[in-house]
Symmetry: C2
Subunit: 188 residues, 2 copies
């Protein structure tokens, strides 16, 4: 039963954090949404910050894992995988429940570099970049760090643009840019 409760809390908090913002969501709201007693929340999470850290981690990892699974399932070669990245991001963005890259939003709400949430965000964004760099390496790109970071920046920028003004075609342009960058990196 205990595990069930934890899950309910995390789901409720996750939803609220991304629709209303983290700082704008009070513990009482989370408790009401989860349909539990406040004491239960504080038995599972020492502080609200602990809950925030776990929600951000889970949402980021979930995104990364789904992305990886999607790419692994597609039987395309390593270079095509790099391009397919943007197909998945597009799919993910189309979901109305989606609300941007979790570590970007969290870092914006916790700008102080020594804040635990900010530090976690930095770690998670590094994980994301590392994953793309790994794909570039598998694709035999000579400078995988450069291309990995470039594609990561493009994705981050595209997600932000699309979030800020839906239907701006940001993702399509990002995909096109990626194609050019990948091609250029291959030639080098």
């Amino acid at each position: 039963m205990a595990k069930n409760m934890r899950e309910r809390i995390l789901v409720a908090a996750s939803t609220l954090f991304h629709t209303r913002g983290i700082n704008a969501t009070g513990v009482d709201t989370i408790v009401a949404e989860a349909g539990i007693a406040k004491m239960t929340l504080y038995k599972h999470f020492r502080t609200k910050e602990d809950l925030v850290l776990e929600v951000v981690t889970r949402r980021s990892r979930e995104f990364a894992e789904k992305l990886a699974a999607k790419l692994d399932k597609s039987t395309s070669g390593p270079v095509e995988k790099l391009q397919r990245l943007f197909d998945y991001v597009e799919e993910w963005l189309a979901d109305p429940q989606c609300s941007g890259l979790p570590f970007l939003k969290a870092s914006a709400e916790f700008p102080q570099p020594d804040s635990p949430v900010h530090r976690l965000s930095a770690e998670l964004s590094q994980e994301f970049r590392d994953y793309i760099t790994g794909l570039a390496r598998e694709a035999g790109i000579r400078a995988p760090e450069a291309l990995g970071l470039q594609l990561a920046m493009l994705i981050e920028g595209a997600v932000l643009s699309e979030q800020l003004s839906r239907g701006s075609g940001a993702l399509e342009h990002a995909r096109q840019a990626a194609r050019i960058l990948i091609e250029s990196a291959q030639r080098k």
Copy 2:
């Protein structure tokens, strides 16, 4: 004297919003930082939200204007201007007072699309993209909207990456990517 007061309030609020976050900064803190009485703040700004809107607008426009001034001062041709973009952003990022693109941070803290702050952020980010698109058009690029949006996404991604982990070399890689994209757009 009245104008002086307004300025002091805006400067104090701007600093605090960007170092601690908007929602995390109370009116009392702003008042203390500005060294004025609370009633004075509320005589110049109807609500805290009004103040937020003005701070975000000012910071965004200030960034854009300095950027434009810098580019106009450099006697380079229209194509070089597009590349020079990243030189200025690098300079701007190096300033320890800099704390990311204002409209991105604001939109993250006010995620609800109907929120006034969110709407303003969308407008300002559009202005930014339009400016870069204008540069691309002046440079005689055949598809200026595409390149403009692509460069804007790169800049946004680079600023975020650099903010999230200082010294990641994000900007240098973004500049390189821009070079490739500009070159490719010229050939088409």
